[in-house]
């Protein structure tokens, strides 16, 4: 990814906004096509996600998931790897969280379970990234392929475990029993009743994810490990010259990436569902890729992009409810367009902007 030809405010500000505008423009055309008013649709979407307490709560709850998986993808980006396996790593991370909660919820208070569950989610998520990382580092097996495969393996493994091992006795549902109070994260609406969050499942994992953002920021830009990660990601030959072991740096970075993805389960499993169930990841791992791309692999950008996607999820649900013509599938189309323009087509407008700004004089022009 060659950056730097553009002024920062264009790269980080104007370009994402342009991409977003293009996505909404095309989405608006689709809405028009099915006979609804696009402006009205936007109004409902924004109001539904930000207009009232409960909406905001849901938006931030979804955003929490996206930030976790977005950070996971971003960390791998910095070492030059494309971790598509956030979905599977989060799923297996859920296993770690679930086991911790099931084991402790009847014995101790939630704040004792919490750190154990965090460790469980991170370790299980990291473990799920370990094999693809090892294969990439030692054998050169492409991480995109292996992590996708591991998503499927994770899915099958969880079905097996939830049906045969962890299932609640006497139930036909492929899910565990409900965690009791010792295995539940406090909801923000209970801690701060004044906020009027309605039934929104926003919970303490939101604080955890903000801490994770700080962690990633310090890791990538202020630690020696981060220096090595970025060096390897930007120039592998220079990294070897600098004495950085490719095997070591790839494996360590992928473990951190997998661990961050695994923490997503804290929000879903411990914070909201209070039980381990099938497919609780619901594609959040994949949205993390778009979030990381759109957020330029920087925590601040990821938070903003995650809130946007949180709005699309929450506002989209409201929209589908208000406008029967705009079905749930339409919302998926709009989300898909945003991912398309912000992620896959990220570079569409870049050359034009670069040409536009190339004429502007640059300080390096005076360099000898």
């Amino acid at each position: 990814m060659s950056r730097g030809k553009l002024p920062k405010w264009v790269d980080y500000g104007l370009l994402p906004v342009l991409n977003l505008a293009a996505a909404f423009f095309v989405a608006g055309l689709v809405v028009l096509l099915i006979g609804e008013n696009p402006l009205e649709a936007v109004k409902i979407l924004v109001w539904g996600s930000l207009g009232f307490g409960e909406g905001v709560g849901y938006t931030l709850f979804y955003a929490t998931n996206f930030i976790f998986t977005g950070l996971a993808v971003a960390v791998a980006f910095h070492v030059g790897l494309f971790n598509i396996g956030g979905e599977g790593q989060a799923y297996i991370g859920g296993l770690g969280v679930g086991i911790a909660c099931l084991a402790l919820d009847r014995i101790v208070l939630w704040w004792v379970t919490f750190p154990v569950a965090v460790a469980g989610g991170a370790v299980f998520g990291a473990a799920w990234a370990l094999v693809p990382a090892y294969l990439q580092a030692k054998r050169g097996s492409h991480i995109v392929i292996t992590t996708i495969m591991f998503n499927f393996i994770a899915s099958s493994l969880m079905v097996y475990l939830l049906v045969n091992v962890l299932q609640k006795p006497g139930s036909m549902q492929p899910e565990t029993r409900n965690f009791e109070a010792g295995g539940q994260l406090p909801l923000i609406r209970d801690i701060l009743p004044g906020l009027d969050l309605g039934q929104a499942p926003l919970n303490l994992a939101f604080i955890l994810v903000l801490a994770a953002c700080v962690f990633v920021w310090v890791l990538v830009w202020h630690s020696k490990l981060g220096f090595e990660i970025r060096t390897f990601g930007a120039n592998q030959t220079a990294a070897i010259y600098a004495g950085i072991s490719p095997v070591r740096i790839v494996i360590i970075t992928m473990l951190i990436s997998g661990g961050l993805a695994g923490l997503m389960a804290i929000n879903e499993v411990m914070g909201s569902q209070t039980r381990l169930l099938l497919e609780f990841t619901a594609g959040y791992g994949f949205v993390g890729i778009a979030v990381a791309l759109m957020g330029r692999a920087h925590p601040i950008g990821i938070i903003l992009a995650s809130i946007l996607f949180g709005m699309l999820y929450q506002g989209g649900a409201e929209l589908a409810f208000e406008k029967p013509a705009i079905t749930r599938d339409m919302i998926v189309v709009i989300q898909g367009l945003v991912i398309l323009f912000a992620g896959a087509l990220e570079h569409v407008f870049r050359p034009y902007l670069e040409r536009l700004f190339a004429s502007a004089p640059h300080p390096a022009a005076q360099a000898t």
């Binding site: 730097g4 310090v218 202020h222 630690s223 970025r230 930007a234 220079a238 010259y241 004495g243 640059h362």
Partner: protein, 459 residues
């Protein structure tokens, strides 16, 4: 040559074939005009068969079958006519390089080439293979353009020779009327030197000793063969040679980036592999600094800010932050010191490295490596792509360093530079150090050695 084959466009001038001006815009028009190129690095698909490789680009239709049968017949005839026997169904990746090259020639002939361009064809061949190749070429009745730095090959097989130096055609001679010595002189040239005042070297103890070092590349080709050398404190030892004769690999091996097969390296009297295998970090810790040949590929991370590059390789040093974190303030302060000391412009340590000019980028690397106060400094192509002002600065700095008692091993393809800086010059040819001369030996002598005419023959 890449222009003739259509890889690059001409800025000015024209190309005439058989007296007719032609415009070659891409390799397709070059082929249509009967030009065939055999690259130094073969352009083959390793997991295709010989036949498939030859047909690549001239499959002759949507379906392969008809084309395959026709190609097979034509190739058989060509192979018989020219004595270029190759098993058509062998997978190319499994063939030895000599055969790969033979099929590159077949490929060109198959496309109806009348003019063959051979770019350093013997670089990867054994001498027997090379002899055979020239045997074939001579009897073909084709026009052959041979690009090589090996003068003996020129003398042995060509009719005319043109000498190029730094992108300019220096002179053209009839082989019958010239000699190896004359060509060597033309090749090396006598350009005006940027003289630097220097005192005579005062060599002290030996700081770098290399014995019987052999390095193979990824394909198993010996790049450095049984090299032995020593560098003493307070001297600059130059390694001269035409680019691609193993200097890069030697330097990278000494810096710990490449592993060596046999041999032993002593830094300041200590065997570097005494505690097992070493990497760049261990070598660095023993006091060996390395200015790599290619700053863009290896010496710098272009996307990084200047201050980040000025600690690359030394980022683990406690000076730049204790524990796991980096102290960005101290990194920047350190970088600003170096910027001032080395007159790096523009003087901004937060500017992205790719924004600096070549000379200033090179100074960033030099400052980083020199300021660590190394025992041995390995320097590759210190002034490649660097402006004159910076060249002078870099040369002066290297001599200063020498006078401070550092041992410097200097690899450069610029003979002028080596002769000016070094007090002893080793010449590398085909992976071997073929001889040592004092820096004031004649250009002709160096030219001969660099072209593979052995020391004994030259004397």
């Amino acid at each position: 040559m890449s222009i003739i084959y259509g890889f690059y466009a001409t800025d000015a001038g024209e190309i005439r074939i058989d007296g007719k001006p032609v415009s070659i815009t891409d390799s397709k028009t070059a082929i249509a005009n009967g030009i065939g190129m055999i690259h130094q690095h073969f352009m083959l698909v390793d997991n295709f068969t010989v036949l498939e490789n030859v047909m690549l680009g001239v499959e002759g239709g949507l379906l392969l079958n008809a084309g395959i049968a026709k190609a097979r017949a034509v190739l058989k005839r060509l192979a018989d006519d020219y004595g270029l026997a190759v098993d058509l169904d062998a997978e190319v990746g499994e063939l030895p390089v000599g055969l790969q090259q033979r099929m590159e020639i077949l490929k060109a002939l198959f496309r109806g080439a009348d003019i063959l361009i051979l770019d350093e064809p013997t670089g990867v061949l054994t001498s027997a293979e090379a002899d055979y190749l020239f045997c074939i070429l001579r009897d073909e009745g084709k026009t052959v353009l041979l690009i090589t730095h090996k003068l003996r090959e020129i003398m042995a097989v060509t009719d005319h020779v043109s000498v190029m130096r730094r992108g300019e055609l220096v002179d053209t001679r009839e082989i019958a009327q010239t000699s190896v010595e004359e060509l060597a002189e033309l090749m090396v040239g006598r350009s005006v030197l940027l003289r630097v005042d220097k005192k005579p070297a005062e060599p002290g103890r030996t700081v770098l000793e290399v014995e019987d070092l052999t390095v193979r590349d990824g394909r198993g080709v010996v790049r450095v063969g049984h090299a032995s050398l020593c560098v003493r404190a307070g001297e600059i030892v130059g390694i001269a040679g035409v680019s691609g004769n193993g200097q890069s690999q030697l330097l990278e091996a000494l810096a710990g980036i490449r592993t060596w097969e046999t041999g032993c390296v002593l830094v300041d009297g200590r065997d570097v592999t005494a505690d097992g295998a070493v990497g760049p970090e261990e070598i660095r810790n023993m006091g060996v600094a390395h200015v790599p040949e290619d700053r863009h590929r290896m010496g710098l991370v272009n996307a990084f800010a200047e201050y980040e590059n000025s600690v690359l390789g030394y980022h683990g040093d406690p000076q730049y932050g204790s524990g796991a974190l980096m102290d960005i303030k101290s990194m920047q302060a350190d970088a600003r010191d170096k910027i001032e000391k080395y007159d790096i412009r523009p003087p901004s340590c937060t500017l992205k490295t790719s924004m600096f000019s070549g000379g200033n980028q090179q100074k960033i690397v030099l400052a980083r490596e020199i300021e660590r106060d190394p025992v041995v400094l390995l320097v590759g192509q210190p002034t490649r792509g660097v402006d004159i002002g910076a060249i002078e600065f870099i040369h002066k700095r290297l001599l200063e360093l020498r006078d401070q008692g550092k041992g410097i091993l200097l690899v450069s393809v610029e003979l002028d530079e080596i002769r000016m800086l070094a007090n002893r010059v080793l010449v590398m040819f085909d992976g071997r150090l073929v001889g040592e001369r004092a820096a004031d030996a004649s250009e002709q002598e160096f030219g001969l050695m660099m072209s593979g005419v052995t020391e004994e023959a030259a004397e």
